[in-house]
Subunit: 301 residues, 3 copies
């Protein structure tokens, strides 16, 4: 975390038209940290979740002078209340802008990039990362020790964490005359949209004869295995340690909870939720929540 004093005026300038109003005198007042509830102090930028019942009490009880709140909160003496529609989103924006150390775009001298790769503008590539004849969009952040194979197409603004392996050969075999397994050719590509995130040590294989596709804004956590030929939509969330076998269709806005497994060639409908540890062997209709081993529909009570 970057440690520095940020004036309330700087926050107001930064949030701009997202601010509905500011209550309280803030000239010369600063914050210098974001904290979870246990460690809030006078100079924390605190916030109140709009879904809470006792928002007014939370504001009064907070040790923080400056808080992000929604329109339903009334002024409390001595506080500076920055009123926005979505306080958590405003906190996230302030945090990312003022407290996160974003490495400047640059290619580390130890990164090995194929001369036939196409690297967009303002891309960061970390130490010991190896990139083949791939296409990397503008503003991508690719951390250290990443491997990206030939033919991978990555959109703009993607965020690839250390140890991720993108576009490797999938796991497919045909038995030869002696009964031994012979590798089926893995000659498709991996095509990733914009603003995709890939977690640390996660592996996404290229397609066999078709492509593996990951839609815009999809976020994949650490240590996931995404096999060949998956077609994954937009704004999908795949949590840690998930196994997605080959050839599934995962529609937009699906949420796949940690350590679950998708058998190949299932279809997960839009907005469906796959529970933690679920073992999915059937299609899941849109909007449904499935849990268990084997996974079954969770009936809402």
């Amino acid at each position: 975390m970057i440690i520095k004093k940020i004036l309330v005026d700087e926050i107001i300038d930064f949030l701009g038209k997202d601010i509905i109003k500011v209550m309280g005198l803030h000239e010369g007042i600063y914050i210098d940290n974001l904290s979870d509830v246990d460690r809030v102090n006078e100079t924390t930028l605190d916030w109140v979740n709009p879904t809470k019942a006792n928002k007014q009490e939370i504001v009064k009880a907070s040790k923080a002078r400056v808080m992000l709140v929604d329109e339903t909160v009334e002024y409390v003496d001595g506080k500076i209340l920055i009123v926005v529609k979505n306080p958590k989103m405003a906190l996230a924006q302030v945090g990312n802008h003022f407290f996160v150390n974003h490495p400047k775009p640059s290619i580390h001298p130890t990164a090995i990039i194929d001369p036939d790769a196409t690297i967009g503008k303002d891309v960061y590539v970390g130490a010991y990362t190896v990139i083949g004849k791939a296409t990397i969009g503008d503003n991508c952040f690719i951390d250290s020790n990443v491997k990206i194979y030939d033919d991978v197409q990555m959109g703009k603004g993607c965020y690839i964490k250390s140890g991720a392996i993108l576009g490797g050969a999938g796991f497919g075999y045909e038995r030869d005359k002696d009964g031994n397994r012979f590798r089926f050719p893995q000659i498709g590509s991996l095509i990733m949209g914009d603003d995709v995130e890939v977690g640390a040590n996660t592996c996404i294989d290229r397609g066999a004869l078709s492509d593996t596709v990951i839609g815009d804004h999809t976020k994949i956590n650490n240590l996931c295995h995404i096999a060949h030929n998956n077609k994954i939509g937009r704004n999908v969330v795949i949590a840690g340690c998930v196994n997605v076998s080959g050839g599934n269709i995962i529609d937009d806005n699906v949420w796949i909870a940690p350590n679950s497994s998708l058998r190949g060639y299932v279809h997960i409908g839009e907005n469906a939720f796959v529970g933690m540890g679920a073992v999915v062997v059937k299609d899941i209709p849109a909007g449904e929540t499935w849990i268990g081993n084997p996974a079954h529909k969770l009936e809402k009570k």
Copy 2:
């Protein structure tokens, strides 16, 4: 994928005595791609699965001019049908030979190999791979960012994907007088047969006092953990995200589906199938299929 035109004559030469017959005039005719069913075009090398009921209709419906088929398929006007016993295997062979870019055997200058290691002929070692005093057989392909520890013995023709870690110290402790865990020595080896494949970011630990053993032609997918002292047979398939705890015996031709777990010291009999997400806490007799948490026998109906 390599993009090039391949004459039917070249395919006939390559498949050689695997070809039963060729039907249709093929002088000057070429193919230039392999594709899944959605993207087949006139110059795709297409194929028909012998298990399908409507093979004749599939041949007629395909946009492709050239197809690999079995002996039961009759000639269809305008096509070139290459008749073989196993069309999918022939497709795999053609694909691997003509369309896959196989890096030439070479040791990347950034690979760090112990001077006392024994490296066979025609081995590929990728960038930033670190190899200790290990023995690597002929024709092995070891991708980038791999770690191979001292004492590992790897047979011929193995295929090790990026990020794999082979022969690391296992996870075993004895409590000391203060109740804290003290590392039990991990001084066995990891002994791998020929034609073994290890997936990306998969970890296979060395034995503690005995060895970890992986048989010929066994294929392990991405993100698997194979703990110390496992004895794994030939032609075993271990899919993605599988946890194999220490000291199991896994006989030949076992299939272990994704994200399943084997408790230590169980025996999985030949040709057994462990279902996706199965939590195996007992021996599995040969030929049986076990699924669930805890795993139980699936009775065939």
Copy 3:
């Protein structure tokens, strides 16, 4: 394994006051290996588990000349019996001291360490490891291809295996106005105690607004995902492929078996045991064993 002859006198000197007595003439007698039961030979240092019923028979049947035993074992002609309170612990100590090849403390020339990092005394850092502005305690062993981010604080004597990724940004988002996920700032730290072990390719994320904490002597196996904001106690064991989502409290001496999953914000009480493949969605009281999907208490019979 180091191959060398070790005189019984050397072992006696090394174990020192842990030895209760030595029975049998041992002048000039040596051992040269540790082995599992199948491969014990005359020069193995063998041992007898104090919990066995037939200890006397085990001593007689062993091919080994020299054995570590507890006080209840009587002398057997021709043997050299080294009597200690905990024979397995003595074996572990001898094995680690005489047979394990411990690399000398050193920083590999290819390691990239931020000039503002604080590295303790007698630290080993392997090839291609990248360390940010972190603090690393004395006597830590950090293997090759490891990534340690800024702000990580690591105690003394930690053991970090290859491919581990420590202190990366966690997985947290807030939806923006367009419904797309926007990264919530991940500006906490990762604070690790002394003698912590982190397995190969395991990922431990930094906190979001608070810290991720790992207590002294805690051991984590390969391919685990430890998300942001977890507070993990002392002497906790986390086996392979475990998913620990964000914000849990795991008390001292908890054992988490392989491939289990902890939903965020649960509390696992001291000495609890989480079974293999368990899907934990509730708090677990101290001392209880929970198994299954979803996890439930295992009633002791």
